[in-house]
Every structure is written in structure tokens, then in C-alpha cells.
């Protein structure tokens, strides 16, 4: 027999071996990647948490950070007209790095002004979704690659949370970050990615699932405790969910459901055993969310977590009408809730290990539509925590002139810092090496300065 002649059996055997070898090598390649990521993880045994606070609807950050010097305010006032905040009510801040202009915060942000002054809060100026750096000339000439569906709520929310605006959504940058650092959590009892604001794109990853809780604790099944029937019902449910002789889909569904129920019970049990915080949180939507996050942080050692990523949110920012009073209320909520949360991290002794940052669809037009403002682009954001090099404005505040060098029309500023850079600065602090940064933020190489420098 010709030694190179293959029988059908031999051919099938070789094919199976080839497929197996490919699979094995693929697995080895994955292991190599995991090893590379674990190198980041293995150097860190300390605790760190990131808190993403998303402002759904598009925050008008033109009234969060306001020009305070005479000429700057006059220009602001004349262009914002009905949306201008009276200068006498503004809360001045004194950033140590200055471009010669003076700035103030919205009058509702008293607590934020104090945090900024104490060096615990920084402002990241004019940040937004970008495919690559864009100049006004490129924008106007149509040669620039722009994020698709600029000014569309749903698209910009997803792009902010994925930080890959030029690709269909697959995962969020928080989810990819969790996938990368999850190895640090040696014995996690629940997911390191927790949302107190429901499902979101930010925490969608490949390996780490987002775990939703509500402001009062983990979501549990009703009718499973108390009385004589409820425990029996619970046991019966568990038996059904953990049946072995079912098809793969049923088994997967049963396993996931059973695991979620178990995790919820574990979390509530641990939360009930932790010492209550003395810090008082405001009784607002955001206040209760931040309080729950603080409780989760205090429970981190019992939960076996060295890294946690949280997601909170507040809606109502899409103020095309009635902007001034509603915006004041919302900014006040942020200021008070963030302040309480910072105090709680101080109380727990983890202020330097917890960083909170804001995100939003976009900012809004600098000019008014009469009673509000419309969808914009680049916006200013708040970053808070003990590790933050606070008391400063990072990035470049645009030239606040409609028709000026940063304006694409009506005061929609071209972002001078990308979401990628903002996220990369946070991810680097969280423990991701420069080498692995592109795995979390694939487009980061398109921007000259990956780390904007607001974290130590």
C-alpha cells in the first residue's frame, strides 16, 4: 500500500487530529493572552473600584463649567442669552493649571466646588466620541471620519459606553476592562461588574457578566421565604433549575438562573452583615444608587473582590425646553450625591482606591432654541476620588464662540479629548498596562496622548 494513500478512515482521523490541533493551538493562544493579562493582574492585590455615572439625555456642560472672567462671561452671556446663568450666582474655582481664562461652576454645585477646591475633583474638558482626531477644516470639508449618528441619543450613548464608535456594538469598555482584570478577584462570590441602574452597554463583556442590583439590595425572587409553603417552592425551583437530564439550552438557562439566584442571596446575606455607614446620602434617585454602591464596596472583602466596576445613571438631561430650572435640579443632585459618596469612601478608608467619573450622550448647543438647547458633541466631565489629581481642568476647554475654531455649528464643540483617552486614563489607573491598553480600547493608538493625566 502506498504510504501516502489515505483510506477514508485515515482521512477522517487526520481531519479530526487537525481540527483538534487547531483547537488546542487556539486554546494555547488564548492562554497566552490570559497570561499576558494575568501579568497585569498579578501585580495587584490591593482594592480598586471604578464608578461610571451616566447622565442619560446629554448634559449641557456649557452650564456646568462657565467662564468667570469679565470678557469670557460677557461673551458667554451674549451667546447663551436665555440660558445664561447670572454671574453673581456662579461658584468660582481656581484650577492650578490655567490657560488664562477664569472659570466657575453652576450655582447648584456647592459641594462640587468644595471637592474641587480640596483637590478631590477634576474636570475633564471637551470630551466626546471620536473615530480619530478631527479638525474643523476636516469636518467642514467632509474628509473626516466621524462617529456615525452624531447627535442621536441611542447611538451616542452606546458609542460612549463602547468607545469603539466605528464598529457595530459588541462590548462595552467597562466589560472589556472587567474581563481583563477579573483574575485579580481570586474567589469572587458575585460578578465584579455591578449595575445599580439596570442593563447597560458599558459593562457588556465576554467573560464577566453584569450583575444588576437595585438601590435596596440584590434583586430576589418573591415568595421564597417565610411560611410553610414558600421554602418548599424554592427548593422545588432549585431542583428544576439544576436538573441534569435536560438539553444543553435548558441546562445553560437553568445554570445561569440558579447562579443568579444564589448570588443574589449571597449578596443580600453579606450586605445585611456589614456595618452600616454613618454617611448620610441624599434621598434622591442618584443618592440611593450611590449609597448602594458604597455598601457594595464595604462588602468587597466578604465578596472576594479586589476590583469592582459599578454603573449608576440619572436621566432627564435632554432639556430641549424648560432647561434652566430642571438643569439646576439635576446638577444639584449630582453634586450632593457625589459629595456623600466621597465622604463614604473616606469613612470606609478607601477614598484613594475608588474613582468616580461621569459620562453622557453629548453636551448641548451653546446657543438656545428659545427655552432649552439641542444635541451637541464634546462635553465636560467630572472625575472624583482620592487618587484624582483634583483641583484642575484637564484637556482643552474650547473657544466658546459660535462660528469659532472649535464649533461645528451652533456651539457643538469638536471634542479635543476622545472617550478613548478618558477611558484609557481610568483603565491605566485600574491596573491595565500600556501594552494591554489596546485590548480594552482598540482605537487608543489613533490618539497621541493615551493618558490625559488626571489620575496619579
Amino acid at each position: 500500500m502506498n504510504p501516502y494513500e489515505l483510506s477514508r478512515r485515515k482521512f477522517i482521523g487526520n481531519a479530526c487530529a487537525a481540527v483538534g490541533a487547531t483547537g488546542l493551538l487556539s486554546a494555547l493562544a488564548q492562554l497566552r493572552l490570559i497570561g499576558s493579562l494575568a501579568a497585569d493582574a498579578s501585580t495587584s492585590t490591593d482594592y480598586k473600584a471604578l464608578v461610571c455615572f451616566f447622565l442619560y439625555g446629554g448634559n449641557d456642560s456649557n452650564n456646568l463649567l462657565i467662564p468667570y472672567d469679565t470678557s469670557g462671561y460677557a461673551s458667554y452671556s451674549s451667546q447663551r442669552t436665555a440660558l445664561a446663568i447670572p454671574q453673581s450666582t456662579l461658584l468660582p474655582i481656581s484650577p492650578t493649571i490655567t490657560d488664562g481664562r477664569s472659570w466657575a461652576l453652576h450655582p447648584s454645585m456647592v459641594e462640587a466646588q468644595a471637592l474641587f477646591g480640596a483637590g478631590h475633583l477634576a474636570i475633564m474638558a471637551n470630551t466626546g466620541t471620536l473615530v480619530q482626531p478631527v479638525t474643523l477644516a476636516q469636518y467642514n470639508s467632509g474628509v473626516a471620519a466621524l462617529p456615525p449618528q452624531l447627535f442621536s441619543h441611542a447611538d451616542q450613548q452606546v458609542q460612549w459606553q463602547s468607545s469603539i464608535p466605528d464598529q457595530p456594538f459588541q462590548s462595552g469598555w467597562g466589560g472589556r476592562l472587567a474581563d481583563m482584570v477579573n483574575a485579580i478577584n481570586s474567589n469572587p462570590k458575585i460578578s465584579m461588574a455591578v449595575s445599580v441602574a439596570g442593563e447597560n452597554s458599558f459593562q457588556v463583556g465576554s467573560q464577566v457578566s453584569q450583575f444588576a442590583v437595585n438601590p435596596s439590595g440584590a434583586v430576589t425572587l418573591s415568595g421564597t421565604t417565610g411560611g410553610s409553603i414558600n421554602p418548599v417552592r424554592y427548593t422545588a425551583q432549585q431542583n428544576i433549575l439544576t436538573q441534569q437530564d435536560v438539553n444543553l439550552f435548558q441546562a445553560a438557562f437553568g445554570g445561569a438562573t440558579s447562579s443568579a439566584i444564589g448570588a443574589s442571596n449571597t449578596l443580600n446575606s453579606i450586605l445585611n452583615s456589614t456595618t452600616a455607614l454613618k454617611t448620610t446620602f441624599p434621598n434622591t434617585s442618584l443618592g440611593t444608587q450611590m449609597q448602594m454602591i458604597a455598601r457594595m464596596i464595604s462588602a468587597a472583602p466578604q465578596l472576594g473582590l479586589n476590583r469592582q466596576i459599578f454603573f449608576a445613571s440619572l436621566g432627564g438631561w435632554d432639556l430641549h425646553a424648560g432647561e434652566l430650572p430642571a438643569h439646576a435640579t439635576l446638577l444639584g443632585q449630582i453634586s450632593q450625591a457625589m459629595n456623600a459618596f466621597y465622604s463614604a469612601t473616606v469613612e470606609m478608608g478607601v477614598a484613594n482606591q475608588v474613582t468616580t467619573f461621569t459620562a453622557s450622550d453629548f453636551s448641548r448647543t451653546f446657543n438656545t432654541n428659545g427655552d432649552g438647547s439641542d444635541h451637541g458633541w464634546g462635553s465636560h466631565h467630572l472625575v472624583m476620588g482620592g487618587a484624582v489629581k483634583g483641583g484642575n481642568i484637564y484637556g482643552k476647554v474650547p473657544t466658546l464662540v459660535i462660528g469659532g475654531p472649535d464649533d461645528t455649528g451652533r456651539g457643538r464643540w469638536i471634542p479635543t479629548t476622545s472617550v478613548d483617552q478618558y477611558a484609557a486614563t481610568l483603565a491605566s489607573w485600574f491596573g491595565v498596562s500600556a501594552t494591554n491598553l489596546p485590548l480594552v480600547l482598540p482605537n487608543i493608538g489613533r490618539f497621541a496622548t493615551p493618558n490625559v493625566g488626571f489620575l496619579g
Partner: protein, 179 residues
């Protein structure tokens, strides 16, 4: 099986293995948009200096269609009312998305009107450029002559707002179509 076939099979397997082990780029292989054609800057319009339209420009070889579209025939017609106008505009957006296999145009009224009147990948005017509903600033107006407000909820959802008979936007008599 001959030796040649056997070697070919081995090469195929090695190629598959090499492919699996080769370094991959992560999302930088290409942008979602095709390279855009450079266009000459536009002259300032009657409303003062205008900036770029955030929508992709029409390809250089796209012939701007002069064929009249019938989609907007009844827009602002005396036989209709604001509700029929809003429904008709909604249908125009549906037709646009279907025709270009894409999402709604974005931007201010003038940007969106520009796209619907021919500055799109097909060069097709879903609304004729000389439609009486378009004012001198290039904005699409309601039957009271006030520009519509196009609220971009998502790529497939465009909320359309008319200021209503009082001509004032964001008042109680506004008429709104939310898809």
C-alpha cells in the same frame, strides 16, 4: 490518496494553525465608513456662516436626481392637516432608510433637509429641492411656516415636532410624532 494530495492536506492544516496564531489587529483594520470624497467648502448661506453637514457627503459620482419624488406631494397640502404632514414625513424617513440601507440623517433641520433633497448616497431627492415647504434658509417647515424640529432618538427613530398654530416651539399646542 497521492503524496501530492497528502502534502496539500498537511499544508492546509499548517496554514490554518498559522492563521490562528498570527497577531490580529483590534478594531483598527478599517473604519466603518468608506473613504470620503473631498468636497469644496460651501459658500455661506443666507443665515450666515454655515458649518459642515455631519452626514457623509454624496459620492462624487452620484448624479443628483432631478426626477421629482412623489413622497412629499401632499406635504402642507390644504387637503391635509398637521397629522397627515407628520405621518408623511415619517414615511419619508422610512423610505430614506430603506433606500440607502442606513440610518436617519442627523444634524439640524437644514442638515437633514439637505440630505432628504439629494445630498445622500443615491443623489435622490426624497423631497424636491424646490418644494414650497422649504424656506430660504433651506429648512423644512410646517404648514404654518415654522421649521420642524427633528429630534434624533436613534438611527431609526426620528421624533418630528411642529410648533403648531401658535408658531412657537415647546408650547402646549406643539404637534409631535414619536415613532
Amino acid at each position: 490518496m497521492s503524496r501530492r494530495l497528502y502534502l496539500g492536506f498537511v499544508v492546509l492544516v499548517l496554514a490554518a494553525v498559522a492563521w490562528r496564531l498570527s497577531p490580529r489587529s483590534h478594531g483598527t483594520a478599517g473604519l466603518a465608513r468608506p473613504p470620503l470624497v473631498r468636497m469644496a467648502p460651501r459658500a455661506p448661506g443666507p443665515a450666515g456662516p454655515r458649518h459642515g453637514n455631519p452626514n457623509p457627503p454624496a459620492p462624487a459620482d452620484a448624479a443628483i436626481a432631478d426626477a421629482p419624488s412623489e413622497l412629499a406631494n401632499n406635504l402642507n397640502s390644504p387637503a391635509g392637516d398637521i397629522h397627515s404632514d407628520l405621518r408623511q414625513l415619517h414615511e419619508i424617513f422610512v423610505a430614506y432608510r430603506g433606500a440607502v440601507h442606513g440610518d436617519n440623517p442627523v444634524g439640524d433641520n437644514v442638515d437633514i433637509t439637505e440630505v432628504l433633497t439629494g445630498r445622500n448616497a443615491l443623489g435622490f431627492a426624497f423631497i424636491p429641492k424646490d418644494h414650497p415647504a422649504i424656506n430660504a434658509d433651506g429648512e423644512l417647515c410646517d404648514r404654518w411656516g415654522v421649521p420642524y424640529f427633528f429630534h434624533q432618538l436613534s438611527g431609526e427613530e426620528m421624533e418630528i415636532r411642529s410648533a403648531g398654530p401658535d408658531h412657537k416651539m415647546w408650547t402646549a399646542d406643539d404637534e409631535v410624532l414619536t415613532p
